[in-house]
């Protein structure tokens, strides 16, 4: 058991080191940040001063060495553009992105499951066909276009919702959240719906397929024969069974919600970390790009490590295998 954990720890460490090398070197071969930052009016001496100050005059392996030394102390470098620690910038914007992703996830469930269930129970009704056709649109329309259209409709033409930005925030345990204020919710609705569209379509399709399959199963027929009400059959027996794959998929899709938020955040000027990342890439703010990617790598490695360890706890075969080898 402990040998297994130690080995997994070493493997995870190697992954982090390898990824840091790839990320750092990859980011460092693209373009030249100095020409992005230096005012055109600056003369050659000032350009060289900036190169020196940002540490770009040193060979890449030395820069990498500095980065690793800093990272071991929890310092992932300082943003070229903002002059603040990269990690601080990312953490500052993280609540906004997580809030958006969770809200989108919630919408996917609240909107997707009832519609999917309806379409599955009454597959021939024209309403069901409309729902299914709509879900195809949800899959195929580009997010940024839908976002702009939503702004045009709800903010410009109807004037119901604010067009862009994040609303009023309140601090909960020191984290600024906006979903607890009315103004915040109004700002949150459109970007969250925009981000959720694809997931809503996915949930509709999954739920419908599950429902269509389940209604013909013996336990549903038996329940019906027993004389249970339709409501009880659907909401207790059927729903419980079809929810398992839906929940599994949504768990997996949460990561992609955060990744796709880049587009939504840009369209709605949502001050999240996706917007920070894309702007950092455009401006070649290398420390922020590296810090962001390393943080994601670290998160995934830790999650996988925990899952693997839990797995070995739950499944004796893993432990036995380990002993045999």
């Amino acid at each position: 058991m402990s040998v297994y954990i130690v080995r997994r720890l070493i493997q995870s460490g190697l992954v982090v080191v390898a990824m840091s090398l790839i990320v750092f070197l990859g980011v460092n071969v693209i373009g030249d940040p100095v020409h992005m930052f230096v005012n055109p009016e600056a003369d050659q001496a000032e350009i060289e001063r900036v190169i020196r100050d940002l540490g770009l005059d040193r060979p890449v392996h030395e820069q990498y060495g500095f980065f690793v030394l800093g990272a071991l102390k929890g310092d992932l470098g300082r943003s070229f553009v903002f002059g603040e620690p990269a990690l601080k910038l990312i953490l500052q914007r993280m609540p906004a992105t997580l809030e958006l992703a969770f809200m989108a996830l919630l919408m996917a469930v609240v909107i997707g499951i009832p519609l999917g269930l309806y379409a599955g129970l009454k597959p021939e009704a024209w309403t069901s066909k409309t729902i299914m056709a709509g879900s195809i649109l949800g899959f195929s329309l580009p997010t940024f276009w839908v976002g702009i259209m939503m702004i045009m409709l709800f903010a410009v033409m109807l004037g119901w919702l604010p067009s862009t930005g994040r609303g009023e925030t309140v601090a909960v345990f020191g984290i600024e959240v906006s979903f607890l204020t009315w103004d915040g919710l109004r700002h949150l609705f459109m970007p969250a719906l925009n981000l959720a569209l694809l997931k809503i379509s996915l949930v509709i399709r999954l739920t419908r397929a599950g429902t269509r399959e389940a209604v013909h199963q013996d336990y549903i027929k038996f329940a019906r024969a027993k004389g249970l009400s339709q409501r009880r059959i659907v909401f207790v027996h059927l729903l419980r069974n079809i929810l398992i794959p839906v929940v599994t998929i949504l768990g997996l899709e949460f990561g992609s919600l955060i990744a796709f938020s880049v587009v939504t955040e840009t369209v709605f000027a949502w001050p999240g970390m996706g917007k920070l990342l894309i702007e950092s890439i455009q401006q070649l703010d290398r420390p922020v790009i590296v810090a962001y990617l390393m943080m994601i790598v670290f998160l995934f490695v830790v999650i996988n490590l925990i899952v693997d360890i839990l797995y070995s706890v739950l499944d004796p075969r893993v432990r036995l295998q380990d002993k045999a080898s």
Binding site: G31, E46, I47, D53, I151, M152, G165, V267, A269, P271
Partner: protein, 527 residues
């Protein structure tokens, strides 16, 4: 029937929104690019300098046409060749109530060029200048050589309070702790990536600021920025996308304001290498670099239809250019107009230069830096191809482009042969482009830092250097104009057009366009 009801309801709701009382005293501005810091000396960058104008103010102000006027200093004179005397305004207080004194100016001159990790510092403007306190309201700024550009350099440096700024880091400014200036607006809140909030400085020395509260919102995406204005979430937006201008003209509740900028879009050519990497003979073989022949350069200029670029590519949001800065700026030549489109003349010049059949060329340009930059490069390639110069187009993101264009070749030389670039004269006069683009590349003396064509003409160099040492304004203006004429007639660069910037406001407001492209709350006035 149902439809009509819905229409009516929609109309009712939208008119309610528009009619809702907007507090005339509050102003929200949607910016295309947000300032990266509250520290006025951290990053010498357009949006940062614009924000600094609200909070800190400079000794000498630049008005909307970049003409100088008294700011925190009431007068400035060169008392000898090496010393300028600045008299500070009496009774000016910082936001924390401390009075402005010579100590603050001396402190600013020490701090501004030395902010740690600055990606572009104010050393550019402060180098070689020492500020000395004479009495509480008098400062002498000394230089090592005669320096006529003193007033325009000083007009770029925001003055900070020594009490608040002593030992303060960039983070202290971002947190608001040290963000104490004497400008018309005070710091309230900074949420990176989202908004910056300012409030009126009641104790401001000048005309009372028009707005109680000013909020800057960063809305990078063009269509979203326009939508935010239409929805009434912001009162003013900067950088209206050229594609939206026509449709916004039809909107009743929106007013548009346009003004020419100090930014010229131009072509730089390889003047240096005997054989240039992106110039080839018609059959693809090597040839001597024809761009070194003045006649070929002028032929290229004549082959370009600037009217077509302005009308079709720029949708009339540009002005044809014949030199480095538009009319009205200091040092502009009255004798230079845009070169007329003349395909026959171009052909004749090419024949005279010994390349009657043309050659192959590649134009390189950025695709995310200037308004419609990639489209301009494509149009130019088509026009040159028609004139016999088979031109290929290669555009790339600016993050890659500027490095290759400046230092991508062997030994850090420019990589390309023929490039599209822009230049904004931050100082608002002609010495800025002359010094950096036209003067011979000279690392030691800091000349020609952006001379990516490595143009070199001793006659022009001498004129520029003489101008930079002439304190007398009339004489200097004359020298700058002469240098510009010599360079442009020699085809040092080929000017295309001056960018025109567009701001949009909700009805009832007016924006006074600025040539330096800055978006200021002070430039927004109720109609």
């Amino acid at each position: 029937m149902k439809k009509t009801a819905l229409h009516l309801a929609t109309a009712a709701i939208s008119s309610m929104v528009i009619a809702a009382p907007v507090l005339a005293e509050d102003l929200t501005i949607g910016l295309a690019s947000e300032p990266t810091s509250i520290d006025p000396h951290y990053h010498n960058l357009g949006p940062n300098n614009a924000l600094a104008d609200h909070l800190y103010e400079t000794l000498i102000l630049q008005d909307e046409n970049q003409q100088l006027s008294p700011g925190l200093a009431v007068s400035w004179t060169a008392i000898d060749d090496l010393t300028w005397e600045f008299k500070l305004r009496e009774g000016v207080t910082f936001h924390d109530g401390n009075p402005l004194t010579a100590d603050d100016v001396v402190f600013t001159f020490e701090r501004a060029p030395n902010v740690p990790n600055s990606p572009s510092s104010y050393a550019t403007y402060i180098k070689g200048k020492t500020a000395v306190k004479v009495d509480d309201l008098t400062v002498h700024i000394k230089t090592e050589t005669p320096y006529p550009l003193m007033p325009s350099d000083v007009s770029t440096i925001p003055i900070v309070s020594v009490e608040a700024g002593e030992g303060a880091s960039t983070e202290d400014y971002n947190a608001g702790k040290a963000a104490i200036g004497a400008g018309p607006y005070k710091f309230v809140e900074y949420v990176p990536g989202d908004r910056i909030v300012l409030e009126r400085n009641e104790a401001y020395w000048g005309e009372a600021p028009a707005w109680d509260k000013v909020t800057f919102k960063a809305i990078k995406s063009g269509p979203s920025r326009v939508a935010a204005l239409l929805a009434g979430d912001v009162d003013v937006i900067a950088s209206v996308p050229t594609t939206d201008i026509e449709s916004l003209k039809g909107e009743e509740n929106v007013s548009l304001f346009q003004g020419v900028s100090n930014r010229v879009i131009y072509l730089h050519l390889d003047h240096d290498r005997a054989s240039s990497p992106f110039v080839k003979a018609k059959d693809g073989g090597a040839i001597d670099n024809p761009l070194r022949d003045q006649r070929v350069r002028l032929a290229i200029s004549k082959a370009i239809n600037r009217d077509a670029i302005v009308e079709r590519v720029m949708e009339n949001v540009a002005m044809k250019a014949g030199q480095l800065l538009p009319e009205g700026f200091f040092g502009v030549s009255p004798n230079l107009g845009p070169v007329e489109f003349d395909p026959e003349g171009a052909k004749a010049l090419m024949a005279e230069a010994g390349v009657p059949d043309g050659f192959q060329l590649t134009i390189h340009g950025p695709n995310d830096r200037y308004i419609n930059d990639a489209k301009i490069a494509e149009a130019i390639a088509q026009m040159l191809t028609r004139a016999g110069i088979d031109t290929a187009v290669e555009t790339m993101p600016r993050s890659v482009y500027f490095k290759r264009a400046s230092t991508g070749g062997p030994d850090g030389t420019p990589e390309f042969s023929f490039i599209l670039v822009g230049w904004g004269a931050g100082s608002g006069e002609a010495s800025s482009p002359l010094k950096s683009l036209i003067h011979t590349y000279d690392k030691e003396r800091g000349f020609g830092a952006s001379n990516r064509g490595r143009y070199s003409n001793p006659e022009v160099d001498a004129l520029i250097e003489e101008a930079l040492a002439t304190i007398d304004d009339a004489k200097r203006q004359d020298l700058l104009a002469k240098a510009t004429e010599a360079a442009i007639n020699d085809g040092a660069i080929i000017p295309l057009h001056y960018q025109v910037n567009t701001w949009a406001t909700r009805k009832g407001l007016k924006y006074i366009p600025r040539t330096d492209e800055a978006t200021l709350a002070m430039s927004v006035v109720p109609e």
